[in-house]
Structures are given as C-alpha cells and as structure tokens.
Subunit: 346 residues, 2 copies
DNA sequence: TTGTACGCGTTATCAT
DNA sequence: ATGATAACGCGTACAA
C-alpha cells in the first residue's frame, strides 16, 4: 500500500515563494536567515503540518540519529531496565533507538547486527548471546568508525567501549558474606564459562573460598546452560540428595536462586539456617520470595544511560579524538536479605 | 565525527564493469538478470563487504521497513513482553522496530509520536499513557495512510487497529470467583477511569457484585493514580482500619495486589481466609509471593505478535482493501492460586 | 539575506 | 539481459 507523498520543504517553498534552501535553513535557525523569514517559515510549516523526513536528512548527512540496541531477550528485568535507561538518555538528546533481540542465538545475533548496520545506526549497544564466542560480526562498525558499546556480557578482545560491573568482586563479596554467616560448604550455580560475567562470578566465588581457607569442591559447582528456573530446581535437588549437601548456595542469577529457595522449602530445608542462598541481579522477584533473597544489585538503568552517553560523546566528538576504547566499571551493591541473614535468625 | 563513505552499488558497478542498475537488480534477484551475473555480483558484494543502505532505499521507495513502538514504560513485565512479541514477529519478516517510552507523560508521548513519524515508520504500535485523554497526535499517521495499532490501553474514538483483552469479562470472572470463595465484601483497587482497561475492570467488578446480589460500596473502591506498590500498601492499610473491612480485594494490577498481600501479612491478616486477593497481569512476582497470587493472565507476547501482523497485513495489502479498523480481543485466563483459594484452606 | 545546483544511495521507468 | 536517467527529501558549497 503506497503512502501519499508527504509535504516537503519544496511544497513549503512554493507556497511561500522562497527557495527550498531558505526553508531548510530557516527551519534549523540558520544564522544567515532573517528573524522574520524564520518566523514566517516556521509558522507556515506548523500550519501545513510539515514534518521533516529524517531518512532524507540522514542520507544527505551520511549520519543518522539512531542508536542500535541488541540484547539477548527484551523480556527480562535486566534487559528492559537497560533499554529503558538507553531510551531515556537517547530521546532526551533527540536520538532514536532501534531494538532487536538475539534470543541467545548466534545466528540471530549476526542477522540483527547486519540489520542494524544496514539501517546506518550512528552507534550500537550490545549484550552478547550465550552462544557467542567471536565478535567478527561487529567489525563492520569499527571499519567505518561507528562506535560499539558492549555492555554486561562483553567480548575479551574487541576494541570498543565497554560498560560492565565488577563481577569478580561482587561474587567475591557475596561468597564472603555467606562465609561470614557461617557457611563452610558453599555451592555455586555457574553460567556458561566463555562469557565474562559468569567466568568472573565463578572466579570471585572460588577465590573467596580459598582466601578463607575453604576447600573448593568441584562437585558443588554446577554449570548451567541457561540458568533457568528448571535448571535451578534440578541442581538444587541433586545437591541436596548427596551425602554431604551444601550449607550455602551462591547463584549466578536470581532466577536460579529463587528456584533454589522454592525447591529447598519443598524439601523441608530451612533457609538460611540449613542452607543460605544468595543470587545476582536484584530482579523484582528477589524481594518478593520468602525468605527474601539476598542478591547483588545490578544498576541496569544507569548502565543503559551510560551506554548512550558513550555513543553520544563519540558521535559529537570532533576529529582528533579517535579513542574508541574505554572501559567503565559500575558499582554493585550487596543486598542482604533474609535468605542469607543468620544473625537475625539465630 | 564524520564516518567514512561507504561502499555502494556504484563502487560495485565500477569494479565489475556493470551499470548500477544491473547491480541493484542482481542483488534482489530480479528475473531479468542472468543467473551468472547475479552470481558474480553477489560474490563480489560479499567479498567487498557491501551492505545496502536502507535509508536510501526507504527514501527512494517512500516506504520504510521500520515499525514504531510506543509504550509507557519499557521496564515493565507487560511492556517488555509485548515488545518482545513485536520484535520477534517483525524481525522474522525483515522489519526493524523503533522504540520509545512515554513514562506515562503526555508531553513525552506527543514528542515520541512526532519522532516516530519523522522517522517515517511504516506503522505504529502504541499503548496510551496515564495522562492521555485525546489522541490528536496520531492523526498525522492516518492522514498519510500509515496504520496505527493501539494495544491494551486504547482510545475510544480513533479509527485504527486495536488489540486488547476483554477487561470487563476478565474482571467479572475474577470478582465472581472471589464471591464463589465466599467473599461478600469485596474491595477494588481501580486505575484511572479515563483509560479503557481500568474502566472495564471496574465495571466488570461492579457488575459481578450486582449479579450476585451484593451491595456496591463506594468506600471499598479505591481509585489510584498509578497503581504503585506504595498506593497499594496505603490503600490496604486504610481499608483494614475501617470498622467493616473487606474480605476480598480485586486489584487492577499485580503490583498493588502483591503489595496488598505483603501489607495484610504485616497486619496479621490471614490470606485467603480473612481476606482473599486477586490481581491482574500475571507478572513474575505473582507466582513467587506467598501465598501465591491469583491473577488474570495477559497474553502480552502474543498481543505483540498480533500487533505486528496487523501492521504487516496492512502494509503488504494491495490497493482496494483500505479497512484500517479492526478490533482484536484476545482471551485471558483466570489463574487461581493460593491467595484466593479457600477450598484447599478450609 | 536568499537562491542555484548538486549529491547522498537506491530503485523504477524507459530505453537498447 | 543490461544501461541511462530521473527522482525520493534534504543540506550545503557556491553564487548572487
């Protein structure tokens, strides 16, 4: 269905007996146009319902005001908060955002990145999928000077902006907290180890154990494919059936942590007395589950805003400041709730 | 920072000694181009890393393959699921989605709609904000034949596609269920009444009471501005302090319902024996809170997919099928959990 | 202060 | 089967 031709600066020019260029300039308050003309043009534009065609402007300028965003799943607390932050910061500066999700499939990720490139985004913000092990598909951006910001799940070896949290320290602190609560046999629900976030969390966990003189028992480390509720339940059941079950679990996300809590309750295990549990992300469910889940807060919204700022800084930058690499590490916060707090439940 | 000029069909044409039009056609498998030429062109395009410039194509075709999406807050279970559905259906057909959020502010909504229009989206999917009482800002789309799909929170008087659930029936059934459980004094947490969804839910609640011969007590109907957790808590406390507190609460969303449950527990009120609670949406927290929250499931993801389908149907439609109005009402499902189930807690 | 002319990358139309 | 040309709407160098 073809759309009607829209009202352009040419139509406006004809109507006002000006040249199109004068209209164009007046509309953007060019200094060489008289106040009066600007006023006339703007008034007429308003009356006629003129709206600029951004496609044409972007093509002409070889530069769009659209930021591409790629996440694994839009429909997840972390992602949606991240996107929300990105959108708020972007729209405030007159930038649009183009969104796509990979559903954690490498194939989709590559296709989405291509699509975003074809749309000539002025920058791209991306979180890597579970299956992603190389990031060649982002090379095309670097090649033409379009900034790439990787956030949260980031590659090891790509020259780009990076916005992350310190997964290692957060995990170390979380595990350390469990030890302070008296846990001596702590299990860990780990995620795919080729992803920085899960690698960091596992390493923090292991180092906290070592630092405190506790044994690292590989049978207590369950590595999961997608950290789903089902996997969390299965792992919890499996662990509790062993001769020597854990007295604490540090989970790489809240989904599996909440799942662990529900499963432990089903098994009649007392939380946190017999098994203390701590998660990661501070999803809404964390504060609702009973006992409330201790977790690590993830400043998703702020991360999104920062990502946008990185893109804008880069785009608005003048020549001569080509540094396209900068790593931002945001603070996390350990939130201690009932699921790991033995002090209040002596 | 200016970007490098990109590799175009002209470069490809020069390199292969073909005309740009041949390249253009070969790239889209035009039937008039020989197999051999197509192969040659595609191979070279691949080698040179040629990527089409969608901006140029859209400008030339006066038709983009981008769907605009406007929600109130990206960062909400319903919205993010909706968007996820929209994105999945769109990307499958090679369409992109441009997202913005109004944060429930009318001013933002108008600005976002303008921005989406300026980007020449081929269709727009929107959920109205809390403050929105008129939808003039959508007229510009109708004017040039761009389809508008309103979803969930929709206007009463705008010719467009509409994707909704039957709020009235869902609310009626939810309230009826509370009555079946023995509730006789049921409160209602209502939302802004100029929005169809909250109006429908309230009406369903009222009619269920009437149908069952129960009195409609205005003091039991609390109308909230934003249906936030804080409002839910305040309303619950207020209700329970009265001489004649309710024995059931039908809430217009899960946020206030969960808030009610937590507040009731704090007050030592037994759920569902003394007060049964039911929410709306089936957010993740609904199944986690204790007792688990009965609620109405909202097929957000499917609604999103349907919205996209409406746009695509319209866009791909040939001339002569101009019907731009069609109302789709999706089924909801009453999910009975512990917060309203007195049968299992005699 | 305003106007003219061209090009951004693509595709549709009309030729050859 | 392929090529030449114009046009989509806008912005800008250059001219007046």
């Amino acid at each position: 269905m073809k759309k009607k031709k829209s009202f352009t600066i040419y139509d406006l020019a004809r109507k006002l007996n000006y040249s199109p260029s004068t209209i164009s300039r007046a509309l953007k308050n060019h200094h060489s146009i008289s106040e009066k003309t600007i006023e006339i043009v703007k008034k007429a534009a308003e009356e006629e319902g003129y709206r600029p065609n951004i496609l044409a402007a972007s093509l002409r300028n070889n530069q769009s005001k659209t930021i591409g965003v790629l996440v694994t799943r839009i429909n997840r607390p972390f992602s949606s908060s991240l996107i929300s932050g990105i959108e708020n910061a972007a729209s405030k500066e007159g930038y649009n955002i183009l969104i796509s999700q990979s559903n954690d499939l490498y194939k989709n990720e590559v296709a989405s990145v291509k699509a975003l490139f074809d749309s000539r985004v002025c920058g791209i913000i991306a979180t890597l999928g579970m299956e992603t092990e190389n990031v060649k598909h982002f090379d095309q951006f670097a090649k033409i000077g379009v900034p790439v910001v990787f956030v949260d799940r980031v590659p090891a070896d790509f020259e780009s902006y990076t916005v992350v949290i310190d997964n290692y320290t957060a995990a170390f602190n979380a595990t350390n907290h469990l030890i302070e609560q008296g846990c001596t046999r702590i299990a860990h629900f780990a995620g795919a180890q080729h992803l920085n976030v899960y690698r960091g969390r596992k390493k923090g966990y292991v180092d906290a154990l070592i630092k405190n003189g506790l044994a690292v028992d590989d049978s207590l480390i369950i590595t999961m494919k997608s950290l789903s509720a089902e996997e969390g339940e299965a792992a919890t059941e499996q662990l509790m059936q062993t001769a020597n079950p854990p007295d604490g679990i540090f989970c790489s996300n809240d989904t599996t942590a909440v799942s662990a809590i529900l499963t432990l309750k089903k098994l009649g295990v007392k939380i946190p007395e017999e098994v203390a549990v701590i998660g990661f992300n501070d999803d809404p469910i964390a504060s609702i589950v009973e006992p409330a889940l201790s977790t690590v807060s993830h400043p998703a919204q702020e991360m999104g805003e920062l990502c946008t700022r990185r893109i804008l800084q880069h785009v608005l930058k003048k020549e001569g400041t080509p540094k396209i690499e900068e790593r931002s590490v945001l603070d996390t916060h350990l939130i201690i709730r009932a699921s790991s707090n033995r002090k209040n439940n002596p």
